[in-house]
């Protein structure tokens, strides 16, 4: 999109992939998935000060409307299966940000009898945000990293070994 500024107003040239990715990354609706203290920081990130909205990220309360799941907090073994079910309910293409030490690896509770050591044991994760809890800046950075990743995706070229399914 770097050509945007140099071209006359009425014409923009871009690649279709880039166009698609640009629209998708600019309306990342994330599912609220607060599990523990990290959830407070996630709310703060959505709040007016760090304002995740300016990147097009809006909180949704249901998996059916979301593209992104931000797993914020301690994942217990009891919650693990439910997390998987919720992930499966999200429409493709879908992304996961694992927020905080707890969902990255179990954090300080990882040896507890009821805690799953990492959300990646259950669902695939795109971006890990470290911290206990990560500051809103860190989560915002995580979202920007995810957007970067989304911009790399190729939808029209089917290449072998690609993990994401290509658009038909």
């Amino acid at each position: 999109m770097s050509l945007l500024n140099t071209m006359p107003e009425f014409m923009v040239t871009t690649k279709v992939d880039e166009m698609l990715n640009w629209t998708r990354k600019s309306s990342l609706w994330y599912m609220l998935f607060g599990l523990a203290c990290c959830a407070i920081e996630m709310m703060q990130t959505g709040g007016p000060r760090s304002d995740l909205d300016r990147f097009g990220a809006v909180p949704r309360a249901t998996p059916r409307q979301s593209d992104l799941m931000i797993v914020a907090g301690t994942l217990t073994l009891k919650m693990a299966l439910r997390t998987k079910v919720l992930y499966e309910q999200m429409p493709d293409p879908k992304y996961v940000i694992s927020m905080g030490s707890c969902s990255n690896c179990g954090g300080l509770f990882q040896l507890a009898y009821s805690v799953c050591d990492g959300v990646d044991k259950v669902i695939p994760v795109d971006v890990y945000v470290p911290g206990c809890p990560p500051r809103p800046e860190a989560l915002t950075e995580g979202l920007l990293k995810l957007q970067e990743k989304m911009m790399q995706e190729k939808w029209l070229v089917r290449s072998t070994g690609e993990s994401r399914p290509a658009l038909a």
Partner: protein
């Protein structure tokens, strides 16, 4: 410790009380399991006690002691502002204690928690299931012999579905049984 409470306890001469002691200014009463419900009913209904609030039910594990478990009840009287702690032993071989849900309905979840964490069986409880952990969890984590490093396997859908279907069948037969 409230002196009037001690005298009231002494004057009642309740069956099944093994020991009345004081611990850090609080009254501790040891009760036989068979007499528990009766003692609790008296403690609730007698105006000298008026213990209308069961604050907590929990247990303590003393490995190597007989009885191994001690189930602890904390009672509080909102009317008279006094407290008492009841203790009941439960052996390792058969950790059975009568449920006090008929006396205080609030005991329901507290006893489920104690069952979940220590494996104490509360006889007469209406719905003795795990409350915090899930059904597939093996063992009772607050027992002293629960291995610290023990990892529970991840539950998969295949593990859960038979139990869910069973519960659904049970619910259905409970609701629609008479039409079936």
């Amino acid at each position: 410790m409230s002196q009037s409470l001690v005298t009231a306890l002494a004057s009642q001469a309740l069956e099944g009380i093994v020991e009345v002691a004081e611990s850090r200014g609080e009254l501790v009463v040891r009760v036989l399991p068979v007499a528990l419900v009766e003692v609790c009913t008296t403690l609730r209904d007698d105006p000298a006690f008026a213990f209308d609030f069961l604050m907590d039910v929990t247990a303590v594990d003393y490995p190597g002691r007989e009885p191994r478990f001690e189930v602890v009840y904390h009672l509080y009287s909102l009317k008279l502002n006094h407290r008492v702690r009841l203790k009941v032993g439960a052996s390792e071989a058969s950790p059975h204690v009568p449920s006090v849900t008929p006396v205080w309905r609030g005991a329901n979840w507290l006893e489920r928690e104690t069952y979940d964490m220590y494996g104490i069986q509360f006889d007469g409880h209406p719905d003795l299931r795990r409350i915090y952990l899930y059904e597939e969890f093996e063992g009772h984590p607050l027992r002293k012999d629960y291995p610290k490093e023990k990892r529970q396997p991840l539950v998969t859908r295949a593990d859960v579905e038979p139990a869910q279907q069973r519960r659904q069948r049970e619910r259905d037969s409970e609701r629609y049984g008479r039409w079936q």
